[in-house]
Amino acid sequence: MFILDHLWIIIALPLLGAAINGLLGKNFSKPIVNSVGIGSIALAFLAFAELVREFAQLPAEQIPWVKTYFTWITAGQFKVDFSLQVDQLTIIMLGVVTFVSLLVHIYSTGYMAHEEGYYRFFSYLNLFVFFMLTLVLAANVVLMFVGWEGVGLCSYLLVGFWFLKQSAISAGKKAFITTRIGDFGFTIGILLLFWTFKSVDFGVIFKQLVSGPPDAVVSTSVLTTICLLLFVGAVGKSAQLPLYVWLPDAMEGPTPVSALIHAATMVTAGVYMVARMNPLFSRAPIAMFVVALIGALTAFYAATIGLVQTDIKKVLAYSTVSQLGYMFLGLGVGAYASGVFHLMTHAFFKGLLFLSAGSVIHAMGGDQEMPHMGGLRSKIPITFWCMFIATFAIAGIPGFAGFFSKDEILEAARSGPNANIWLWLLGLIGAGFTSFYMFRLIFLTFFGEPRYDEHKVHVHESPYNMTVPLICLAILSTVGGWVAAPHLVGGTDYFEKFLHPVFATYAPASSLDGLKQSLEAAGIAGSQVSVVAPPAEAAEAPGMMLLHALTGWPVLIALAGLVLAWWFYIKSPQTPKKLAESLRGPYTLVLHKYYVDEFYNAVIIQPLLWISTNVLWHVVDEGVIDGTVNGVARVSRDTGSELREIQSGNARSYATWVVIGAVGVTVLMLGLWGMVR
């Protein structure tokens, strides 16, 4: 029970690493920076492994395991503890964060080897892991918010890591400010949460949802408002419509950062938060629908932009936005476990895609444009195979990780408790696009004839400290989804079964039927939900289910995307150009990302700049604030220059003043005396 009692060790280790590297690292040699940076994360990973061992021995009634260390804030009723919490959802997130960040740290020793500020990079990266673990382990919403803002800060620092590059600075600012809009909603949501439940602890809030708060009944409209406000925060952090614009720009950061922060962990914080708040969301159907709608729209919309991008990292960035949309779609239709499942598999295969892309960029000597690549397959075989596997995984080809999770989400959108056929359709078409743009990326990069100047660019495979993390992630991208596989042959979905307590304990009574139903479908017998199950609709035979899944729409459309990409970029490479010619209007629109950045610039940024310049600067600042300060100064100066006339140097005038003063005092005294009398 050592780690369970000392949960703080898990978050303290990366913080310690960040402090050592950040404060002293300037004078360290690279091996020392490496061992501090990687060592702290590796120890955190070991602590996590020990935590899993101890967690497995906990009796079910002690979960969630909450450990309070000290009281952080007390103000009247408002009380925030520094308390950490472990339940099944935390375990999943901790595993993803510590493992992927360990691999990214190792990878960075190769990728960042020749960069200035090597120690700074590792310090920021460790700091990021610290905040991300705080976010995941927090037992109340305020502490969670600390982690939430902290990862935003680290994202800003790392996107702008090359701070001599103007575009990197702008991208960092854009990321920070755009997510701040979302955080504004999140903050108000937290306040409303406290105002309604008089507590910020997850456990206390969720218990009140079941038994009712002590003094008042919480209406659905209040819950809906809270959920929508919290979701605004998730929209900003997880780059959903309409606040997704920062994520593609964030690709200015080093590629390991894109892999860790902008694909695997930080951007999934919104998904984690909604999953964590599932008892609230389950009671607010409108908010749930909004989550699903935004998710499906983003999944589809970002996928369309991904179709035409030429920068290898930009394709992956839009792909990330799109995949996050799938996670929200899963959450929104009530399949929380599927959303979190996709979060996990996505962390593996998208982390792998970004790291592979980094390896490609490394091989190309810094060029990120796919039209300059081609034929890299035989030159960098390890990178190629890893990226190929990741592409299979994200496209949803059966057998790979992404297939299981995406299939579950789409299945829930089609036939789950909150199914909506239009959202399913959006997600399905988006899946086709996903498959197409990913295979387009593969074919443009690795197949065909080399389009770069072979005398100038010396393509070489990356060193082993970059390829080993790729191979680890490639293995996980393949087998990571198999925990759900037995479900397809009539067995148990182990992932859903593991997470089941998180999503069932405080579920509303009305949704228990649906939950029960989905559990039955997931093959969990003897679940603790004690509701009479409605007659299951024609339970499919195990073999049929497998067949059904393998020949279902998601698989067919993924294969269609593959074939189409092959046709466009291998078989007849003139086709894309011709198609672009014949569809000039839509093509230009998508190529310019629907002009959303331009639209935001014209509608929000320019008016804001105008008001700031012409009203806030020239009127309020110069007129009111400077005017007040200068006015005070001018009054004192003018009074002084009048009064200095008294100091004439003429002794007789001084004498006169003395006399006048004496007379004045006398008159005053007499007057006062008269009043007293």
Partner: protein, 102 residues
């Protein structure tokens, strides 16, 4: 024998004090101004003595001794300053001693 009323003394004191003030403000010679100050001090002394006598108390008389002592000291210092001043500036006209200004 009738007692002279206190108001007589006070009026005389006020007149002397007023003369002192007028001389203090309008005269140009430092010696004269100095004498005006002495006149005012003695006007105040007169008032003190008058009150002391009227109230049959000694406090006023004690104050008069203090004033005389201070006035003597002041005369000594003041006259010394005036002599030094005259040695440096060759004038006793107060209008021309005007360096002390902002």
């Amino acid at each position: 024998m009738s007692i002279v009323p206190i108001s007589y003394y006070l009026v005389l004191s006020a007149i002397l004090f007023g003369l002192g003030i007028v001389a203090f403000v309008f005269k140009r010679n430092i010696i004269t101004i100095f004498m005006a100050i002495e006149l005012m001090l003695n006007a105040v002394n007169l008032a003190f003595v008058a009150f002391a006598r009227a109230h049959d108390q000694l406090d006023g008389l004690v104050f008069v001794f203090f004033v005389i002592v201070v006035a003597a000291a002041e005369s000594a210092v003041g006259l010394a300053i005036i002599i030094t001043l005259y040695q440096n500036r060759q004038t006793l006209n107060i209008e021309r001693i005007n360096l002390l200004k902002f």
